[in-house]
């Protein structure tokens, strides 16, 4: 019997508490029941990667740290979109803005920081944004769509990343900075000047010593006026003038508060049961904003919560990097001038390089690098170790490769790094931790190294170093350009295998395995279903489907459930049914004592809990009523969801139900790389939710909008628009051609939105829209394939001889209990 767990409540769900929980679950997985209140309506994501999301280099899915599954797996209750408004330290409870009350034994306040809004007139106008979370990014992207002109107030790290991101989205951007040079807290004036030049060459206007007087407009931004009278017309203002620790909640609860929430070096506030960490915490008189010290706080707090208070928080210098593609800058330490300080400077005007080392007592105390930052880590290590640099002083500025005369091979330089050299600043991972995990766990690809060490898993700027370490540790076993193999049975990736199947005319699984030198005798559960699909798709008339290489659902034509029973979904074309069909279903449910009946998201009826041995008889009865398999189990065409359109709806513009049925009757039975769900909505009100489907059609007065690549599962994504066409025949041709293109190019288990994103939406449009011949060829190949695919698997099974292999699947080989009873 375990003791009742202590209740741990966390206010805030940013990167610091997320990392704290990772450490805590590792050290003491069963000690706490954890509840998190997140004012943002989402899971924990990598906030420092918002800039690549803004610029379009990454998507939000790419930067999620903990997906919903992680919270479920660890039994964490996550309240999304709940802002805590009160902490009652006597009752030991917290209350959210909607009145949710949670008791705690230990409380962690991780409220982060809030952007500082300069209180100039007009700061509350519509069009004034901050740059803090995904909502801000979304708002900026929305504004970017309408081509709004933007003024970014603040030329620090965040402001410049926002400016570069908005510029990358095609906006007209002006940066206003109060100080004479950009990023003056991290860069000296020379580097700041080079940075300004680079930004200006990209078309970003930079005004330094710009003192904002007011934001112009009438409730809505129209421009910014400076103290000197300059007026910059714009529709969007991004305030990036710094952040303030969010300490108000703690203050109201009577905790000791300075600039932030004051904590000791174990992250405890003035109340022994309340901890604080992250940007809201003030430790040793300092508040932190970069991720490395915040992760250090997470480590310390987790250790203390787990009852292992061995670590204390110590201040360390954190390097700064700007996450703007093509701009390399790096700074760490103190680079102010001083009487005891000397400096070594290297400038290369042509190369746009500036390096400056600040030296005191033969030790590096500050580093500023612009243009070439490769030696940043090495300099930072010398700074951290307080290495005496007197002997290498003459060549120091040229970097590590030039120590000892000859330039070193960069690999040799990496190999020569000491074991405790910090490789990943964000996560505090040193060289030996990475090489140790590579050796101990036999890691051979970057993703695995990231997963096990966290190195290069946050901002990613040390990825190159980590890869070099992998080369040094693994030798030729690591090939960074290598594609992810399909599985352990081959070194080839999905795309190569698909290409070679066609090129070499391989028409059976054994032929593929022989010709492509499979490393196992008969593959595995990952590659065999993939190969079976590729062969079915590429040789529809010649390939003999290998049932033993299909997942059980596609062998049993039903969905396996957690208890080994199955669920059966008959097809209801376009979601339409009738009293006759419903009666037949009701009869089957009664006859086979089916325990559960449910409507699916795709407008079908699901009968759950059917014993495997009953499946053929269930199908037989359903078949008599005219049903065919709904293929709700298939990596293939699932459902076409519809609304009632012009048949019934007073808003309907076209016959959406009829079109849905046509599409479904045309496409049923086709196998696809992953499941394929369609919908047809009769008007832009979109009741059939066509804009989050794999392929969707939205009817409008003038015809039909064809959409594709939506998602509403693990990921949520609106569709992309493929085309506007004017007739049902054109809809059919375009949708079918698109489906065939996906069938021929997608990787097994890759949904259409991932495939389309990988190859590019424009490439899809180019092949389907701009090239009519290509579109027709795709269409015809689909039609040809359908002549072999449109066989109702239920009918096929029911009609098979009861002695045949096909039928045998559903009976036990022998029943020894019966034999016993007979004796």
């Amino acid at each position: 019997m375990s003791e009742p767990r202590e209740k741990l409540v966390i206010i805030g769900n940013g990167m610091a508490p997320g990392r704290m929980l990772e450490h805590l679950f590792e050290a003491a997985p069963d000690q706490y029941d954890v509840t998190i209140f997140n004012a943002e309506p989402r899971v924990n994501y990598d906030r420092i990667m918002l800039s690549p999301v803004l610029s379009g280099e990454k998507s939000f899915e790419d930067i999620i740290i903990h997906g919903d599954g992680w919270y479920i797996e660890h039994g964490v209750t996550l309240y999304k979109g709940h802002k805590i408004t009160q902490i009652d330290r006597q009752a030991k409870t917290v209350t959210s803005h909607v009145g949710e009350v949670a008791e705690y034994d230990k409380l962690v306040i991780a409220t982060g920081s809030s952007p500082f809004i300069i209180p100039v007139p007009g700061h509350d106008f519509q069009g004034v944004l901050t740059y803090r979370d995904l909502d801000d990014v979304d708002a900026m992207l929305l504004a970017a769509q309408s081509g709004a002109r933007t003024v970014v107030i603040g030329g620090g790290l965040l402001g410049l990343e926002a400016a570069a991101g908005l510029k990358a989205r095609g906006m007209d951007v002006t940066v206003l900075h109060l100080m004479p040079t950009l990023m003056e807290r991290q860069l000296d004036s020379s580097a700041g000047f080079l940075l300004q030049q680079e930004l200006e060459s990209r078309g970003i206007a930079v005004i330094t010593e710009a003192n904002t007087k007011q934001i112009l407009g009438d409730g809505k931004v129209e421009g910014v006026e400076l103290e000197d009278g300059t007026i910059i017309p714009c529709e969007l203002v991004v305030m990036a003038a710094g952040v303030r620790p969010s300490a108000r909640l703690a203050n109201e609860a009577g905790l000791e508060v300075g600039r932030g929430i004051i904590v000791d070096d174990l992250m405890r506030t003035s109340d022994p049961d309340i901890y604080s960490l992250g940007e809201c915490a003030e430790v040793g008189g300092m508040c932190y904003g970069l991720v490395a010290p915040l992760y250090e706080m997470a480590r310390v707090a987790a250790g203390h919560l787990a009852g292992e208070p061995t670590k204390t928080f110590k201040h360390s210098e954190t390097p700064t990097k700007l996450k703007v593609t093509g701009i390399n800058l790096y700074s760490v330490g103190d680079f102010a001038e001083g009487p005891d300080r000397e400096e070594i400077v290297l400038r290369d005007a042509m190369g746009g390089i500036y390096k400056r080392l600040v030296i005191e007592n033969n030790r590096i105390i500050g580093v500023v690098l612009y243009g070439d930052t490769a030696d940043g880590g090495w300099f930072a290590q010398l700074l951290k170790d307080k290495t005496d640099i007197a002997e290498m002083r003459d060549t120091l500025i040229f970097g590590q490769n030039y120590q000892g005369g000859e330039p070193l091979d960069p690999m040799v330089a990496v190999a020569a790094l000491p074991d405790d050299a910090e490789i990943c600043g964000c996560n505090g991972v040193c060289k030996s931790q990475i090489t140790g995990k590579i050796t101990d766990l036999g890691l051979t690809n970057l993703d695995d190294v990231r997963a096990h060490t966290k190195a290069s898993a946050s901002c990613g700027s040390c990825t190159g170093l980590v890869e070099q370490l992998m080369v040094v540790t693994l030798g030729d076993a690591y090939n960074p350009a290598a594609v992810q193999p399909m599985c352990g049975c081959t070194d080839l990736g999905h795309d190569d295998v698909r290409r070679l199947i066609k090129a070499k005319g391989l028409k059976s699984i054994p032929a593929v395995m022989q010709a492509l030198e499979w490393k196992t005798s008969c593959g595995c559960a990952k590659c065999r279903p993939a190969l079976n699909y590729y062969l079915v798709c590429d040789w529809p008339d010649e390939y003999a489907d290998d049932y033993q290489s299909r997942f059980i659902n596609e062998r049993a034509h039903a969905n396996i459930q957690k208890d080994g029973t199955y669920s059966v979904v008959p097809r209801m074309w376009g979601g339409m049914t009738s009293s006759k069909e419903l009666r037949a279903i009701a009869d089957v449910v009664d006859k086979f004592d089916i325990p559960a009946v449910k409507c699916t998201g795709g407008q079908r009826i699901d009968m759950l809990g059917i014993k495997k041995e009953d499946l053929p008889a269930v199908w037989e009865d359903l078949g008599k009523a005219g049903f065919v398999s709904g293929q709700a189990y298939a990596k293939g065409l699932r459902t076409v969801k519809t609304c009632v359109g012009t048949d019934w709806c007073r808003f309907g513009t076209q016959d959406s139900t009829g079109l849905g049925i046509k599409l479904e009757k045309f496409m049923w039975g086709s196998w696809t790389p992953a499941k394929l769900k369609l919908a047809v909505s009769g008007c832009p009100r979109n009741c059939a939710e066509a804009t989050c489907k794999d392929i969707g059609v939205v009817c409008v007065d003038s015809g039909y909008e064809i959409h594709f690549a939506g998602a509403a599962g693990l990921d949520i994504k609106g569709t992309e628009i493929l085309a506007h066409v004017s007739s049902e025949e054109e809809v059919l041709e375009h949708v079918v051609a698109l489906a065939q293109m996906y069938r021929e190019q997608g990787r097994y288990l890759e949904r259409i939105y991932k495939w389309a994103k990988r190859i590019g939406y424009d490439e899809v449009r180019r092949q389907i829209m701009d090239d009519a011949d290509k579109r027709k060829a795709y269409y015809e190949r689909f039609v040809f394939s359908q002549t072999f695919a449109q066989v109702d698997p239920w009918k096929e099974r029911v009609e098979a001889e009861p002695q045949a292999d096909m039928y045998a699947e559903f009976r036990p080989l022998a029943d020894l209990t019966v034999q016993e009873a007979a004796e």
């Binding site: 595995c524 059980i552 080994g564 022998a814």
Partner: protein, 117 residues
Amino acid sequence: MNAPFSHMAWIAIGELSDIPIRGARCVVTPMGKIGVFRTAENDVYAIEDHCPHKGGPLTQGIVHGASVTCPLHNWVIDLETGQALGADEGAVKTLPIRLDGSVIELGLDPALMAENG
């Protein structure tokens, strides 16, 4: 469990051809369901039809080499040892099985069968 080998009774359960190549069938016994597997090389194996992870029916999985992948959460079980392969830890019981010509025979402890039957 530790029944001496002499107590073993060999019971014929069917023909080799009753099981698809790289496939499986289940046998109902008083001790629960037993999975009987046939590999590409025509070797036969018998293990409990109950994944050590969440009890998935292993006979419904994909058979590859001398192992099977559970249909519920993709655990891979070694048919010879009953051990989970890869990063997962767990095991199922294995049972003696042999081929007499084309007839598959399962080795069972008669005492156990009587007791439960």
